[in-house]
């Protein structure tokens, strides 16, 4: 049983018997803390459904007197973000989707193959290779962003020259492509870790038997490991999706203006200093930004927790 299963599955051992008072205290504390975690979300939704004068003039816990969806409409399609001409966060939401889908798919496929090699086709030095890939998960990105900016700048130059010569830049210098590259590279450590730990427990006898039957490297992967990998694929996809969608540092460094991902646009919207601060619109935009990852959490909570625990290495 993995660590995450211990969390997700119910308690198996005998309970300590508690007096009624103790039980009331336990439930009381648990409920108070549940409120601490849930009230911010409730207040956010509440705020996003109020007209601005109720937000600035009223109590944040009070229910809307004039229920309105206008803040959501404005956040999605009308609000001015920074100095951008594009209105609303819709375009940035699309940027994030365009970035996150390829980045998650590529890093997951590579992670699966790496995990397969590192457990079933070991070579001398496999532990060192894995160790180096593992540490890469934990570096502060500050120590790579300057060189990355230089390299992406070079790709941009190549893109410009290609466009001058042929009319197409072939994706060189495209901010979304850049972010996909960055997220794939810095996500590889985690995806490899997930699959490596999962395949470590996969019976090697099955692999060996397939080899005896003459199955090759890719055949074994496709026919034997992959069909048994659904849980870890879900865990990895959820983990990568959440991390990449929520990234801010890379997005704000390597994509500017209209090509920014959602998190960067949200931050620009909130910190736009011109005009009246439309708190209700800002919060509606924040909920939209949180929507996809919250949805994934609600649908695949069990796998989400497994990913988190595996990301803490123990597990």
């Amino acid at each position: 049983m993995s660590a995450a299963d211990l969390v997700v599955s119910g308690p198996s051992r005998e309970p300590t018997r508690h007096s009624l008072t103790t039980r009331i205290v336990i439930y009381g504390l648990l409920i108070v803390f549940a409120l601490v975690y849930i009230v911010p979300l409730v207040v956010m939704v509440n705020t996003s459904l109020k007209p601005l004068d109720e937000v600035t003039g009223g109590n944040m816990f009070a229910l809307p007197q004039h229920l309105t969806f206008q803040p959501w409409v404005r956040a999605w399609g009308e609000a001015r973000i920074g100095v951008s001409e594009t209105a609303g966060i819709a375009g940035y939401f699309a940027n994030s989707i365009r970035m996150v889908v390829p980045a998650v798919l590529i890093s997951t496929v590579l992670g699966a193959l790496n995990g397969y090699v590192l457990t079933k086709w070991r070579f001398p030095g496999h532990a060192l290779v894995f160790g180096l890939m593992l540490f890469a998960c934990f570096i502060p990105f500050q120590s790579v962003i300057i060189p990355m900016a230089v390299i992406l700048g070079m790709l941009g130059h190549i893109g410009n020259e290609l466009r001058d010569a042929t009319g197409w830049s072939l994706g060189f210098g495209n901010p979304t492509v850049n972010l996909v590259i960055v997220h794939v590279i810095y996500g590889l450590g985690f995806t490899t870790l997930f699959f490596r730990n999962y395949y470590e427990a996969f019976p090697t006898e099955l692999v060996r038997a397939a080899m005896m039957d003459g199955a090759g490297f890719f055949q074994i992967f496709r026919r034997i490991l992959l069909p048994n990998s659904t849980p870890i694929i879900i865990v990895t996809v959820i983990y990568q999706f959440t991390n990449i969608w929520n990234d801010f540092l890379f997005g704000s460094t390597f994509a500017a203006g209209d090509s920014s991902p959602m998190t960067v646009a949200l931050n620009n919207l909130v910190n736009t200093s011109t005009g009246v601060t439309e708190y209700n619109v800002n919060i509606a935009a924040a909920i939209i930004a949180a929507g996809p990852t919250l949805f994934v959490y609600i649908v695949g909570g069990r796998y989400f927790v497994r990913g988190l625990m595996a990301g803490a290495v123990k597990g």
Binding site: L6, N59, S143, N246, N267
Partner: protein
């Protein structure tokens, strides 16, 4: 474990020899691109940043070496308190934020895990509520908490409406208190995760030991303090390491809770690095701070990962 490519496939007459060679090399060829990417983009780039920290790079990279001058500068800044240098502020804030963030996350995480482990009803409802903030982006969390703590429209206003008019809570707009708000938002976001780690640890404790303690007449408090907590000490250690490394990497949360860190009041090493590199045109100084961050994280993570891998190998 299988040490090398299979011989069975190679002996098979159906396979041409080229194909056999490819089969032999397939595993390494498959792993090589990922490994190379990591060697270049992680370790190569770290070395590049290290190199830049010895140069006089300003707005652009430079190859003019100036020895340890940047490190000397940072060392001087570390003790420059009047007026405080940005680096001094960053270090003080790191201590405050890091201490509060790690401490409160551990305490809350353990407390909630112990409470949840009392075979209570409704665990399946409560647990997801404690954990959902982890699905949010730090920018979303920051945006939300900035609003709740805003004295004009948030908590202070609400408490005034309820009748306690002398209540005063303006930390989020008070430069000297902003860093505490970052810690509040951070603890709210991450404590559920620590709860999950501790809960897994508690669920792994052998119930026989607990029964024995009960029979011996130990109270619940004694059982936890003397028996359970010592058993789950490794979880403490893991949580501490993970939290410490997250605290050092914190960047998004400061930017969003404080509204782009006005005047550097809530400066952390991460924001220091960013502003010196990208807005103040002192790339070499930015690189130096990045190297210091990397070295700190390496000092925490390398021994931890090493022991984790050793443990797994056994």
């Amino acid at each position: 474990m299988i040490a090398k490519a299979p011989t069975a496939a190679n002996d098979n007459p159906r396979h041409s020899s080229l194909r056999a060679v490819l089969q032999d090399w397939a595993p390494r060829l498959v792993l090589a691109p990922s490994f190379l990417l990591i060697v270049v983009f992680v370790y190569g780039f770290n070395l590049w940043t290290l190199f830049l920290s010895f140069t006089n790079a300003k707005a652009f990279t430079s190859t003019k070496l100036i020895g340890l001058a940047n490190y000397q500068k940072m060392w001087t800044w570390t003790f420059e308190t009047d007026p405080p240098s940005n680096w001094y502020t960053a270090l003080i804030n790191m201590g405050l934020f890091g201490g509060l963030y790690v401490g409160f996350c551990l305490a809350l995480g353990l407390g909630l895990a112990i409470l949840l482990d009392q075979k209570i009803r409704g665990e399946g409802v409560l647990r997801p509520i404690y954990l959902y903030p982890l699905a949010l982006s730090f920018i979303v969390t920051g945006t939300a908490w900035k609003l709740f703590l805003d004295p004009r429209i948030g908590l202070e206003k609400a408490v005034h409406d309820w009748g306690w008019t002398s209540f005063h809570f303006d930390w989020v707009v008070n430069p000297s208190m902003m860093i505490y708000c970052v810690a509040i938002a951070g603890v709210w976001q991450t404590s559920g995760f620590v709860m999950a780690m501790f809960l897994a640890g508690l669920r792994g404790v052998d119930s026989e030991i607990l029964k024995a303690a009960q029979i011996d007449g130990a109270s619940a408090f004694q059982t936890y303090r003397r028996i359970v907590i010592p058993i789950i000490r490794p979880v403490f250690f893991s949580a501490l390491i993970i939290l410490a490394h997250m605290a050092i990497k914190s960047y998004d949360l400061v930017i969003s809770v404080t509204g782009k860190n006005p005047g550097g009041a809530a400066e952390l090493p991460s924001t220091f690095m960013y502003s010196y590199t990208f807005t103040r045109n002192q790339m070499a100084v930015g690189s130096t701070s990045a190297v210091i961050m990397l070295a700190t994280i390496a000092a925490i993570m390398v021994p931890y990962l090493y022991s984790e891998l050793k443990e797994k190998a056994r």
